[in-house]
């Protein structure tokens, strides 16, 4: 099967996989899939997009012991200060937050993040009527994926992470209220047994399942509340759920998250290495995330505040 996203590509594993070889393979795969404009698509040969480009730059920068090369992102198409993937389509707030975090990795490029941060501070999701079907507070206006829509966990986690990172480096008073609302939203949307779904914790009284990637992201955004019962419960939920995960994106994000929380990740990293050896070379987002997770030498500084 040829796919843009998932192929079981390599030989079945019969022995412990060599981590350094896997890292080298991931790095080569990324370098080989770089587009002429300097960016990366979600799959080789596809148009460059913000998200895989940021992850690839973060991963390659760390794996080569240098700051990320932000030139491709600096030159990205813009629309009212927002970076846009597709002219005519709305700017994606989660990916703009990721781009700002990438700029913030180096003092010299940090000013490039400022217009995006200003935009994201102003942005908020729609305020919704209270639905009896949803056990949640629809008045909380955190962050949507795109303007004119409701707030969701993933874009809120990215924007919260960014604003907290900014707060730790050079505080912006106007960000404080947005951080408060973002945290309120994540506490409101946590699933009953901990962890986060992409959006609602329940519908019509039935609890929805937490996902590994969204839980890892939300926990990264809430790393300054590690003593909070919701965070403790969600961290436990993440550790349970990741045990059965076979997705490189989910495992990579969990490695980054757990390391940030000071949880031992040696066994999970070995799983990550084995998954990477089997993984689809056409999944460039997963490749970049995994390279970042496995080779970061500065303890995942991009997402630590």
């Amino acid at each position: 099967m040829a796919t843009n996203q998932t192929v079981g590509g390599r030989d079945p594993l019969t022995t412990r996989v060599d981590g350094s070889r896997v890292r080298s393979d991931l790095q080569s795969a990324l370098l080989g899939a770089r587009n002429r404009d300097g960016g990366w698509g979600y799959a080789p040969g596809r148009h460059s997009r913000i998200e895989p480009t940021c992850w690839a730059e973060l991963a390659l920068g760390h794996s080569q012991g240098r700051p990320p090369d932000v030139d491709p992102i600096r030159a990205w198409k813009r629309q009212d200060d927002w970076l846009v993937d597709v002219p005519g389509a709305p700017p994606n707030m989660a990916f703009n937050a990721l781009a700002a975090l990438t700029f913030l990795q180096e003092r010299s490029t940090a000013p490039l993040a400022q217009p995006l941060i200003s935009r994201l501070i102003q942005a908020k999701g729609l305020r919704y009527w209270q639905s009896p079907a949803l056990g949640q507070d629809n008045s909380i206006q955190a962050w949507p994926w795109v303007d004119g829509t409701a707030s969701w966990v993933e874009p809120t986690a990215w924007c919260l992470l960014l604003l907290k990172k900014v707060r730790s480096q050079s505080p912006r008073p106007e960000a404080a209220e947005r951080i408060r609302v973002g945290e309120q939203f994540l506490f409101d949307r946590v699933c009953r047994d901990g962890g986060w779904n992409y959006g609602n914790p329940e519908v019509y009284g039935q609890k929805l399942w937490p996902y590994v990637p969204t839980t890892a992201l939300a926990l990264l955004a809430m790393q300054d509340h590690r003593g909070h019962p919701v965070v403790i419960q969600s961290l436990r939920q993440l550790q349970n759920d990741v045990a059965s995960e076979r997705s490189v994106v989910a495992v990579a994000l969990t490695v980054v998250c757990l390391r940030t929380y000071g949880v031992a990740t040696a066994a999970l990293e070995q799983t990550a290495i084995e998954l990477s050896a089997e993984a689809d070379p056409g999944n460039l987002l997963g490749t970049a995330m995994m390279l970042y997770a496995l080779t970061d030498t500065r303890d995942h500084a991009a997402f630590r505040f």
Binding site: G88, A89, A94, W145, A150, W152, Y198, W209, Y211
Partner: protein, 332 residues
């Protein structure tokens, strides 16, 4: 479906993007341009028995193509199953045997290329969904290409109707570049839309990497409106519905499995959806998106639907729905 012959020589992307007057018509407050659509006098819908997922779906669906007079010679077929979430012992997704069977049947029917693609609205992690549902193995075995529509390249195209008020939408190029789109849903009740079938299934073509997870602009502009605009723009050529084990109650995720034992097929997705609605005890005239669909997209009127295979009466089953949807039931 009308216009198929004229469209055959154009890629879907060319066809959609060259209809420039659509923007003008939309600006004039019309919901659709009647000259762009043709509702047939009658449409054929086939219901073919499948008692379990152990049957030979390639054979069943190929026979369905023959019975309905569907030819795929030289076509680049795009198969759009319904994949949303995975949880053991649930029936959220189109069964992988049905997906693989449909792909093999398309090849037997002469398709030049068959691609399967989906952009789940909840689970962003396609790798997880493909492996956990078993679809990955099915497709690999048959050497069938899968495209994650959430992360595919996109092109912005003008919408061909204007129920949402949106003028254009970014859609995946793999979908737009195909010339025969088959919607391949799981039949489910849906706690917001009433029912998931071949039309609602098109939500999965909207790219998450552009619009997010879920595809929230579609909700903000009205689920029914979005279903209509997507169907009018994508114009699926055919529908194959997995109603072997369907979902009732609090669908599309948390509902309960309900055996029905058939696969529904037809070239008019509106007629297919209307038939499936009647089978599960819902009145298509009360389903918000089917009523307007009858004006320009296809046939809802039961007297104008010709049945092939088994009679729908054989399968009629009163499905549970959430209390908010009780008003959708067929009058007795």
């Amino acid at each position: 479906m009308s216009g198929d012959t004229a469209r055959a020589s154009l890629s879907r992307r060319d066809f959609i993007t060259t209809v420039s007057f659509s923007l003008l018509a939309g600006a004039c407050g019309r919901r659709f341009d009647p000259q762009r659509f043709h509702v047939p006098q009658s449409s054929a819908v086939g219901l073919f028995p499948a008692s379990s997922y152990a049957v030979d779906f390639a054979d069943l669906i190929f026979r369905g193509f023959q019975e309905l007079g569907t030819t795929l010679t030289g076509r680049r077929v795009f198969l759009k199953p319904n994949m949303v979430e995975y949880e053991l012992d649930t029936v959220i997704n189109t069964h992988p045997h049905v997906v693989a069977g449909a792909a093999i049947a398309c090849r037997r029917a002469g398709a030049a290329e068959v691609v399967v693609g989906e952009g789940p609205g909840h689970r962003r992690d396609m790798e997880y969904l493909l492996s956990s549902t078993g679809l990955h193995d099915q497709l690999r075995e048959q050497r069938i290409r899968f495209v994650d529509l959430n992360h595919d390249d996109v092109a912005v195209v003008p919408l061909q109707s204007w129920f949402t008020g949106l003028q254009e939408l970014a859609l995946p190029v793999t979908l737009l570049d195909s010339d025969f789109v088959i919607s391949l849903p799981k039949l489910k009740t849906h706690h917001w839309a009433g029912m998931t079938c071949s039309m609602k299934n098109l939500f999965g073509t909207v790219p998450g990497a552009v619009y997010g997870w879920p595809k929230n602009p579609l909700h903000v502009h009205g689920i029914a409106n979005s279903i209509l605009d997507l169907t009018a723009t994508i114009r699926p050529h055919f529908a194959i519905v997995d109603a072997v084990i369907a979902m009732e109650g609090d669908g599309p995720i948390m509902g309960r499995p309900r055996s029905l034992g058939f696969v529904a097929m037809g070239s008019d997705p509106v007629a297919v959806d209307a038939t499936c609605a009647r089978v599960i005890g819902l009145d298509p005239d009360k389903i918000e998106y089917l009523q307007p669909a009858a004006e320009f997209l296809g046939v809802v009127d039961a007297s104008r639907i010709e049945h092939r295979g088994e009679s729908p009466d054989r399968y009629v089953t009163r499905f549970d729905v959430v209390p908010a949807l009780e008003h959708l039931r067929l009058s007795r």
